[in-house]
Subunit: 252 residues, 2 copies
DNA sequence: CTTGACCTTGACGTAACGTCAAGTTCTACC
DNA sequence: GGTAGAACTTGACGTTACGTCAAGGTCAAG
């Protein structure tokens, strides 16, 4: 129950350097310092060390850990605050990934990747399994036939239309326009018209529940970062949703 | 076409400090340095600066940007390498988030958070809009009634069962077990049995397409990071999918 | 007494700048 | 021409959580 710095480091799965660092910070002082300056630790120190390391693995900063250990901060509350930051970071990463992917496909002239990923390009941002899950395997197959039937030029045109919509939505969202203003509503109209070009969806079926479909899609754009990335991230997705909602309520 | 350091900084949306930094690194030298030491830039420098800032927004490091700009590295290749790192980071974050959430619910004894977030805890990892989209508003409402009908203790039990499944899947995936081995198949069986407890899903309906449903869910776990987070990240999700697929093919 | 193993403090490096600090130069106005 | 204020310069510290030498003291074994 009296360990040297190396011993306790190995016990806890860390390094002696880290222990000296925590000592410097006042986060974990040695139980006893011998006359020769050597640090010694007991099992209470080990327990404290293990709590520190656990919280660190969760991504908390050392100052936050110190607060929790001193009892001056509630552990659950600290973790929830931390969770918020983690989610933000995750969103940032998702947006960055989408941008990098877009840049790469742009760089490659949109050639090779398109053939493979275009079906992922839009509501086709969706994976096959999800499409089947949502609308059934039959609808997926119908969409696939339609897509291949477009031919090279048709696919190119469709993709251009898709990209233009994405660009215009992003620009509109960033301009701070009102979602229920004239410009945004014009975009929403274009969006719905464009949606009716996708067979197998309610929007394409005469008598289909277009309104419910559009409302649901808007919510999904916000809920799923893969969708939102096409519209300039979270804020963009919320803008699109609000614009679509306003349009659907008024026109559909 | 001859800007001072402040002017070009504003034009490009950055700061003069950053420009001096890039000068120090040799990343972007001023076009001309006057006798008084003042830095001056022309439009070619502006173009280069804008490329730098664009790549930086994508998350590339300055050394990598330098390589791309010097032509000693292929831009697309650099971005794809970067993309790999971004995806790794995202996975790490997802795992950390899952751990933090698990820790919080453990801390709170599964009390308060459950009421609000439990409906997101499961295939209820899904947002309301998505559930409605996939199974219809009626199914959502049925599920909601069922959930509230469970009462406090029932909800606690359900949550414990869910958490146990998540833990066991994660552990199994990390142990390097074979997805079609006995242990994984036992887990898959438990998973399917657990699914049948959720009303409104095909699995709960006698005569429903359980096999297709299970296969689709597996794919979705892989495709959507929000699902994968419950099973130890991307690798865990793939393990779950493979195990479920093997089980479905054999037993359903 | 020597040789390692282990310990100490001190200090630099990490990514990309933000933020003073101290000193020089330019511009405008009196 | 003098002066205030704006803009510019180089230099250097701070940021996160330690890793990694460097130089030197201590301890157990042979």
């Amino acid at each position: 129950m009296d360990w040297s710095i190396q011993e306790i480091a190995k016990l806890a799965g860390t390094t002696s350097r880290t222990l000296r660092h925590y000592d410097d910070l006042g986060l974990l002082a040695p139980t006893r310092v011998a006359g020769n300056g050597y640090r010694h630790y007991d099992e209470r120190a080990l327990v404290r060390l293990q709590r520190i390391l656990l919280l660190r693995e969760l991504g908390l900063g050392l100052p936050a850990i110190a607060e929790v250990l001193e009892g001056s901060a509630d552990e659950a509350r600290a973790l929830e605050a931390h969770l918020g930051w983690l989610r933000q970071e995750q969103g940032r990463l998702a947006r960055q990934i989408a941008s990098v992917e877009k840049t790469i496909t742009a760089l490659e002239g949109g050639e090779r990747l398109m053939a493979d990923e275009m079906f992922d390009g839009f509501d086709h941002t969706v994976h096959r399994a999800e499409v089947e899950q949502r609308w059934g395997a039959e609808a997926y197959a119908a969409g696939d036939r339609w897509w291949r039937g477009l031919g090279e030029t048709g696919q190119r045109e469709w993709k251009a239309r898709t990209a233009a919509l994405s660009r215009d939505w992003t620009a509109a969202a960033e301009s701070g326009l009102a979602p229920d203003g004239a410009e945004a509503q014009a975009l929403a109209k274009r969006h719905v018209e464009w949606l009716t070009g996708v067979p197998g969806t309610p929007a394409a079926v005469p008598g289909g529940d277009v309104k419910g479909y559009v409302l649901g899609l808007g919510e999904m754009y916000v809920a799923d970062p893969r969708f939102g990335a096409n519209y300039g991230g979270q804020a963009g997705a919320e803008f699109v949703r609000d614009a679509l909602r306003a349009y659907a309520e008024r026109e559909l």
